[in-house]
């Protein structure tokens, strides 16, 4: 299948960073919070520290591993929040097509959509205080309309199908139809969209941490590592290089995988290919 040539590199990259995150629970080369001023600005590949140390003498590899855990956790939960809240909203809107509920849901969605997502996130964390939890909520909230809209659009076309009509004739209510007949048939779309949103979530977490509103120290975060290294980039470029590469390759991996999954799972594309 030439269409899914993205699958292997995407899956490998994603698996690599997921593995880093999981390994960090049981093993990191050094304690990622240990401050050791004497050993600061160690260059990569020299001695004890594979990727060097930062301005406090902390091991960058350990920080990237634990940072992967935090980035992935924030993105997973945020996408989860978006799905759990957005999918039922979209199903309800589709079931109520043209009704007041549908109008209300979609207009509120438009409103949330109209704000740039990172600005909403900054607003939320500025009001409720910075921290990983509020970052999750913030990123989760702008995921809601994405899933609501996707669900509604996909569900609307399904509502026209004969088997839905049959289910209605059989006396099933809109809630049961949505849950038993619509949802299973749009699950593949949600998975594809989820992968894309997941990579956006990683970027959003890094962005929030970069401006100081995401994960708070001492928990490491790729975004904050970048922010910390800014003024030192001329004499300690490795401090910026490795967290930067980690973000790039994680997002690249997820996007490649999202593309590949879309090729495999999306019924519209599959039909075209035939």
């Amino acid at each position: 299948m030439p269409r899914s040539k993205n699958l292997i590199p995407g899956a490998v990259l994603t698996a690599f960073f997921t593995a880093l995150a999981l390994i960090s629970f049981v093993y990191t080369p050094h304690d990622h919070t240990t401050v050791d001023i004497v050993n600061r600005f160690r260059k990569p590949l020299g001695g004890d520290f594979l990727l060097g140390t930062d301005h406090f003498g902390r091991d960058i590899l350990s920080m990237i591993m634990v940072g992967a855990r935090i980035s992935i956790a924030v993105a997973v939960v945020a996408v989860g929040v978006g799905m759990v809240a957005g999918v039922p909203i979209g199903l309800a809107a589709a079931a109520n097509k043209g009704g007041i509920l549908d109008e209300l849901i979609m207009r509120v969605n438009d409103l949330v959509f109209a704000f740039p997502s990172l600005v909403i996130a900054i607003l939320i964390t500025a009001v409720f205080g910075p921290g990983a939890f509020n970052a999750i909520i913030a990123i989760g909230i702008f995921n809601i309309p994405v899933f609501a809209r996707l669900t509604r659009g996909a569900a609307l076309s399904l509502w026209q199908r004969d088997y839905i009509l049959a289910a209605r004739v059989a006396g099933k209510g809109p809630v049961r139809i949505s849950a038993e007949h619509i949802l299973p048939n749009i699950a593949n779309l949600l998975i594809v969209q989820g992968t894309t949103q997941f990579s956006l979530g990683i970027i959003a977490e890094a962005g929030l941490s970069y401006v100081g509103l995401g994960t708070q120290p001492p928990a490491p975060s790729w975004g904050r590592m970048l922010a910390d290294s800014q003024t030192m980039i001329l004499f300690a470029p490795h401090m910026a290089l490795f967290p930067g590469l980690a973000i790039v390759f994680t997002v690249l991996g997820l996007n490649l995988m999202g593309d590949a999954l879309r090729d495999i799972l999306d019924p519209r594309i599959r039909r075209d290919a035939r």
Partner: protein
């Protein structure tokens, strides 16, 4: 006159391309003032822009911290030390054209010490019993008790002389007697000053000055490297100083400040109200690691709330030497063998943000867990300074000679010690230098042995300036960026 000036300007323009000295200066500082009245706010940024440049007091600080005559050309002190008769300088005029008279002095001092005064340092004026106008150029201040610090107090930015006719709009349009006139404030960006051609003293070499506000270390580094600014006073990225030192386009001047940088402890919040817990915190901290890690080596360790360059300073760093074993033991004795959790709220400067991460790691090593939150200045003032809702915080106290804040139980770290209050009250009445030094030593020892706060280091102030700028202050004896003596080579 106008003709002559335009000729000289034209000549200056013609020659500007060649070696003729530049006559304007763009200098950056970290913080923007909230408004422009130095007599009604604690914000040091106001003085950073206006002190000596726009506003002057009866006396003033010189660059070495000594007190020299300002608007008072001379003074006589009575035998009993209670009355000060000030002779004002001749020809001093406010920027709106009105002359400086003894009435303005009386107005300013009475306003500062009034019941409803909003002056941030009211204590400076508390001993003034009355202010009397003798004639237009002479004013007599009578104290209720002798005060060895009175001339020093009058040099503060909070004691500058204002005119009653311009007090209304002072927060937006400051009108003083200084060598520069306020010209324009573009909020969020810059304040512009121009030379006051009617200045009573020596005319400044610069004819226009722009203050820019850049708090972000990266932006500060970029602006300086690109030469968007001519100088940066209080440069926020100490890690980049070696690059500026190596670059022939720039000079780096590292001076000392009056900024005692401390780990402030909320003395009323359990378990921090226990002196042994505070002592444990003090012993858990490795000052040198903080100075190296957060300030890249800039700063002098301190063991009490007093500037090391002051002759009365006592080195008490031994009271809180780095000893994590002892810290653990003290915690165990106090019933916190497993440690405890408290908050660590950090304002924006890099000494606080970076120092905070290092201190958090050091405290974690003895079992004290901290929840770090990074706050903006407005939030910090609200939550920590006014709200007292914090366990630990890091801040630099930049006022000169400010050990007296420990005599204020309502002050944000809430140290409540009647003996210390009595000592400071006695100190304020004492004029004999030797006795004062002895009392100051007692005061320093008292707060050091009570472990009121974690005393970290005396803040250094790096100034980065383009080569060719002369006359910038090296040290910062008060919050000021005095540009009256600055010129280009």
């Amino acid at each position: 006159m106008t003709f002559l000036r335009s000729v000289t300007t034209a000549a200056a323009v013609l020659l500007a391309g060649s070696a003729l000295a530049k006559s304007n200066l763009t200098i950056a500082i970290q913080l923007e003032p909230p408004h422009l009245d130095p007599t009604s706010a604690a914000a040091g940024a106001i003085d950073s822009v206006l002190y000596s440049n726009v506003f002057e007091g009866l006396t003033r600080f010189a660059s070495d911290g000594s007190v020299i005559p300002g608007l008072a050309r001379s003074w006589e002190i009575s035998e009993n030390g209670l009355t000060y008769t000030f002779k004002l300088v001749e020809g001093a005029k406010f920027h709106d054209g009105t002359a400086l008279t003894a009435d303005d002095v009386k107005f300013s001092l009475d306003r500062a010490r009034a019941e409803d005064s909003t002056n941030a340092q009211k204590a400076l004026f508390s001993l003034i019993a009355s202010v009397d106008v003798i004639d237009a150029a002479t004013v007599r201040v009578t104290l209720s008790a002798p005060n060895g610090n009175f001339l020093f107090n009058m040099a503060w930015g909070d004691a500058v002389i204002l005119a009653p006719e311009s007090i209304e709009g002072i927060r937006q349009t400051p009108i003083g007697t200084g060598a520069f006139r306020f010209s324009k404030w573009v909020q969020g960006d810059r304040i512009e000053l121009v030379r006051n051609d009617d200045y009573w003293g020596d005319a400044p070499a610069l004819d226009a000055v722009t203050f820019r506000f850049i708090s972000d270390p990266t932006a500060a580094f970029a602006a300086m490297m690109a030469e968007d600014i001519d100088a940066f006073a209080g440069f926020p990225a100490p890690e980049t100083l070696p690059q500026f030192e190596a670059d022939p386009r720039f000079n780096v001047i590292v001076g000392s400040t009056e900024g005692e940088t401390i780990l402030s402890i909320n003395n009323k919040m359990p378990p921090l109200n226990n002196v042994n817990i505070r002592k444990a915190i003090a012993h858990a901290i490795d000052r040198q690691a903080i100075i190296d890690g957060a300030m890249f080596g800039l700063g002098t360790p301190i063991g009490t709330h007093f500037a090391p360059h002051n002759p009365a300073y006592v080195d008490l760093t031994g009271n809180s030497r780095y000893d994590p074993e002892l810290a653990r033991q003290l915690l165990a004795e106090a019933g916190f063998a497993d440690g405890f959790t408290t908050t660590l709220k950090l304002p924006p400067p890099s000494y606080a943000r970076r120092g905070g991460e290092i201190i958090a790691a050091q405290l974690r090593a003895v079992g004290i867990k901290t929840e770090i939150s990074n706050l903006e200045w407005a939030q910090w003032l609200e939550e920590v300074f006014r709200g007292k809702d914090y366990g630990l915080t890091i801040v630099s106290h930049t006022e000169p000679f400010d050990i007296g804040i420990y005599a204020r139980p309502e002050y944000y770290f809430q140290y409540d010690n009647a003996d210390f209050r009595r000592l400071i009250a006695d100190l304020n009445l004492e004029a004999d230098p030797e006795k004062r030094a002895a009392m100051l030593a007692t005061a320093q020892t008292m707060i050091s042995e009570d472990y009121v706060n974690g005393y970290l280091f005396q803040l250094a102030t790096p100034t980065v300036a383009k080569a060719g700028i002369k006359g910038l202050w090296k040290d910062a004896p008060t919050q000021a960026t005095d540009l009256t003596g600055v010129s280009w080579e």
